[in-house]
Amino acid sequence: MNVDQELVRRVQAGDKKAFDLLIMKYQQRIIHVITGFVHDPVEAMDVAQEAFIKAYRALPGFRGDSAFYTWLYRIAINTSKNYLTAASRRPPVSDVDAMDATIYYDAPELKEFETPESSLMSDELKQAIHLAIQDLPEDTATAIKLREFEGLSYEEIAQAMDCPIGTVRSRIFRAREAIDKQVKAVMGGEEQ
């Protein structure tokens, strides 16, 4: 089952709480995309909020022709451009293709706008995550790598590893718990 599609269906049927889950899932990515246009983090959050509100209002017309995130991504890009136009600032000439939205990695158009702080934070987190994965038992590490780096579904991982889907799910969960310990440590260090 496509979880995004099911959440969209619920929002369209009147369940506002289902929209909260979609916000929680995609807000970091959307803020990241908007920061490529609107460099100030506070302004970027305002634009992200506006983009989500526009998406909510437009959801009755969303027919599922594209993935929900691709659709949301386009709204975020348009909202950013409109924001810059309204603020009389020129939007970037080159765009990130909407088709790349779901397989998005380090686009140079956006990377150039990263702040030193956010770059440092991301690098520290990446390092902590990779160290955590290295320390995992082999089966657990394989499951999370196939999921996060290869993008396989639980069913595909179960076939590849010749084990039940439930086992894949619990291995990935254990991997996330281990990663989360490292992430918490990095974040805790930042807050001090």
Binding site: E6, K16, M24, P41, E117, E191
Partner: protein, 186 residues
């Protein structure tokens, strides 16, 4: 304090691997346990960072701001079951009206062919003559524009079809192929 099963639910949501019942459980969990949201956002952040998205020192949470901004918005009420089918079956009304008109005209055309075949002088081949003679036993066509059938009930029904067609064709703007037929007494 969340259970391991509940945290596993959050992890599966990061991967979009939940069924409908688990989505219900997740929604309920988010309502009742504030830690659930924080925990999920850290799981999601880790996944996002792996995929190259940059991060701030603490995960940003816009859900409360957006929910507050949408408080006065009316909840949607679109029937989701209509979504995927709409494109396939959304033919305009005029299409069905014209199709019905054409179908009616075609059926009357077929009746007219049967009528021609029943003309005594129009037998063009032995096979047609044979059909003609068989049909003559049950169905005859007089010199008038009315069907004349051996059985009164059948004759009435056929004439009623012609009348109905004539009236429908007149009302819909279609040319009536049955206008040559009159149901009045000559």
């Amino acid at each position: 304090m969340m259970t391991a099963k509940q945290r596993e639910l959050l992890s599966a949501f990061v991967d979009g691997e939940l069924n409908k019942q688990e989505i219900d459980e997740l929604l309920a969990l988010m309502e009742t346990d504030k830690d659930a949201k924080t925990e999920f956002m850290r799981y999601q952040l880790s996944s996002d960072v792996i995929h190259g998205y940059k991060s701030y020192s603490t995960p940003v949470d816009l859900t409360q701001r957006i929910s507050a901004a949408l408080t006065d918005e009316k909840a949607h009420s679109v029937e989701a079951t209509d979504m995927p089918k709409a494109k396939v079956f959304a033919l305009p009304n005029w299409f069905w009206k014209q199709t019905a008109g054409l179908a009616a005209a075609a059926s009357i055309g077929a009746l007219a062919v049967v009528g021609v075949m029943n003309q005594p002088q129009t037998s063009l081949s032995p096979q047609l003559a044979e059909i003609d003679s068989v049909q003559q036993q049950g169905l005859t066509h007089s010199a008038t524009n009315r069907w004349t059938v051996g059985e009164q009930e059948v004759e009435d029904r056929l004439n009623n079809y012609l009348v109905d067609h004539n009236e429908y064709a007149g009302a819909s703007g279609l040319f009536s192929y049955a206008r040559v037929v009159s149901y009045g007494e000559e």
